[in-house]
């Protein structure tokens, strides 16, 4: 039942994670992903969350959560102390996403990063035909109040990993309820039709 209530993105992430592992959820929100992983997959979860209210919600659920800022406080986690580190849709909001990513790869043996895809066709259309910064369901803010400082496309993150010699294990594109595997061969088309990209790297 719980899995039905969870958003598609979390279902994909949960499927990527093997049972009985140790997972750090960076920016864990109200802990819904952590709760699912703990209950359904016997995963030992830890969360990092900035928002006080969310921290309280996690604590009330008995989920271990540390109140803190991922941009500045990832140093507290030792090298390779988790099997997986999850970062859901926040990479683009950091001042220094490269540094954050480097830290995630240091902490986890593998990392799952999801990004709202700026290459999605509706986003491109908005900019091309209307000449306005796109506002969509996955990118709900306007240019002046968006937390997103470093928007990128699925293709951009692909390229980034290649350049930095980061091993890409699997990439999943998400569009509403549909998911598809993204490979180099179908990258152009998936970059156009995926709202979200979920990368398993490391």
């Amino acid at each position: 039942m719980k899995s039905l209530k969870m958003k598609k993105e979390f279902k994909v992430i949960a499927e990527l994670l093997p049972n009985n592992t140790r997972v750090l959820d960076v920016g864990c929100g109200d802990g819904s992903l952590m709760n699912f992983l703990r209950e359904e997959k016997n995963i030992e979860v830890r969360g990092l969350e900035l928002n006080q209210e969310n921290v309280q919600l996690c604590i009330r659920k008995g989920l271990p959560v540390i109140q803190g800022n991922a941009e500045t406080e990832l140093h507290q986690f030792p090298d390779q102390s988790f099997d997986y580190v999850v970062l859901s849709q926040t990479l683009q909001a950091f001042y220094n996403p490269e540094e954050v990513l480097k830290n995630l790869l240091r902490i986890g043996k593998a990392v799952i990063v999801s990004i709202p895809n700026f290459g999605y066709w509706k986003v491109r259309m908005k900019l091309l035909f209307f000449g306005e910064m796109p506002v969509t369901k996955t990118l709900p803010n306007t240019w002046y109040n968006t937390p997103n400082l470093h928007m990128c496309t699925i293709k951009d993150l692909f390229k980034f990993c290649d350049e930095k010699n980061i091993n890409i294990k699997q990439v999943v594109g998400v569009n509403e309820d549909k998911t598809s595997l993204i490979k180099k061969s179908n990258l152009e088309i998936k970059n156009l039709f995926s709202k979200l990209g979920i990368f398993l790297i490391g």
Binding site: Q52, L63, P64
Partner: protein
């Protein structure tokens, strides 16, 4: 100024009315001396259930005692943590069995410097052995044994209570299912040692103190002790909180008196706090307990430092700090979290945003109390399940 009756009040505390156990097991203190057959005073609230899965141990702070909530029978004032502990409160005594012991070195019934030294039948005074946080904690473990509690649902404490808790978890790693250290530190900072030294020097500078021998004369170095307390009270507030509470407001007068009386409200507040304190607390106890705090450095006890201290912890931790606490800062509390993380322990952390400084943990601070309650209730569910399995 305290009345004469008040002054004698603390001397004549009817300690026979206080719950206590006599700890028979010899306790070898860190200083090398051994104590045995010593009294340990305690109080409990609520009922221990049949499964014994609802016991919560509270460690008190520097000037606290075992009377956590309700009315303190000795001072007739409210218990020091009445905001958090009691029926329907965050630590709900309708549901949980709350235990608190007076620390050794204290003056509310446990062995302390005003007790009689069996060697010369005089009050100990400065002949009392210097005790440490570890000694305090070891003494309290005997109480759990006495009460037949193998594993606590939770142990908690703020300030020096938090320091005792960290020591307790390190020394007895299997005794608590969960732990909530609040506004504390794993080693006393230079600033905190300095403030404690200020308090001690104030007491020692009072001629009545007389090298700690005042007890046999039935007097108390009240001026020195009051100043010591004032130092404490300044450190428990924040700059902003103090400004908002007192500002430059005058104490029941229209203008300056051009004297050294308490013109300002803040002066009046400090004097009141200082002189109310001398009626309930022994000056030598302040010396001994502040010393124990200063000597506290958990990382020093373990070769691998703090991370090693928390090795093999199955206890689930929730560390809480307050944003405006400059006595036990967020950074110091975070260092505990970092060490717990590095040792692989299950740890949560929350920083409560407030202007109320170190004192916040004793006040009605809704976000804090909600967090406390949420954690304890969720831990109770887990503990029950674990016990069932």
């Amino acid at each position: 100024m305290p009345s004469l009756a008040g002054l004698f009040f603390w001397m004549n505390i009817k300690t026979e009315d206080i719950n206590k156990i006599i700890v028979k097991k010899p306790l070898k203190l860190d200083c090398g001396k051994t104590i045995n057959n010593f009294p340990l005073a305690y109080e409990t609230y609520g009922k221990l259930n049949a499964n014994k899965d609802n016991a919560i141990l509270v460690f008190h702070a520097l000037t606290g005692d075992q009377f956590v909530t309700g009315t303190n029978p000795i001072t007739n004032k409210e218990g020091w943590w009445v905001t958090a502990v009691g029926p329907g409160k965050a630590i709900d005594t309708d549901k949980y069995f709350v235990i608190c012991a007076n620390v050794i070195g204290g003056c509310m019934g446990s062995l302390g410097p005003k007790n009689t030294n069996p060697e010369n039948n005089q009050p100990y005074g400065l002949d009392f052995p210097v005790i440490t946080i570890k000694d305090m904690v070891k003494a309290q473990e005997s109480l759990l044994e006495h009460l037949g509690i193998k594993k606590l649902l939770c142990a908690t404490g703020g300030s020096m209570g938090g320091m005792q808790l960290l020591q307790f978890c390190a020394t007895f790693p299997d005794k608590a299912f969960s732990a909530i250290p609040i506004a504390c530190s794993s080693s006393h900072s230079a600033q905190n040692i300095a403030l404690n030294e200020l308090a001690r020097q104030a007491i020692m500078a009072d001629p009545v103190w007389d090298n700690g021998k005042y007890v046999s004369k039935n007097v108390q170095p009240k001026n020195g002790l009051a100043v010591a307390r004032m130092v404490g009270h300044i450190s428990y507030l924040s700059e902003k909180g103090m400004q908002e509470k007192f500002g430059r407001k005058l104490q029941e007068k229209a203008d300056y008196e051009f004297s050294f009386n308490a013109d300002f409200q803040v002066e009046s507040y400090l004097r009141h706090q200082g002189y109310a304190f001398v009626e309930r607390f022994d000056a030598n106890s302040i010396l001994y307990i502040t010393r124990a705090m200063d000597y506290f450095d958990l990382s020093k006890q373990y070769k691998g430092g703090l991370v090693e201290a928390f090795k093999n912890q199955n206890t689930k931790f929730l560390v809480i700090s307050f944003s405006s606490d400059w006595l036990y800062t967020t950074k110091e509390n975070k260092d505990i979290v970092i060490a717990l993380n590095a040792s692989g322990a299950d740890v949560s952390y929350s920083e409560i945003v407030t202007d109320k400084g170190h004192d916040s943990f004793l006040l009605n601070e809704p976000e804090f109390l909600k967090t406390l309650k949420g954690f304890i209730d969720s831990m109770h569910e887990k503990f029950k399940n674990e016990k069932r399995i």
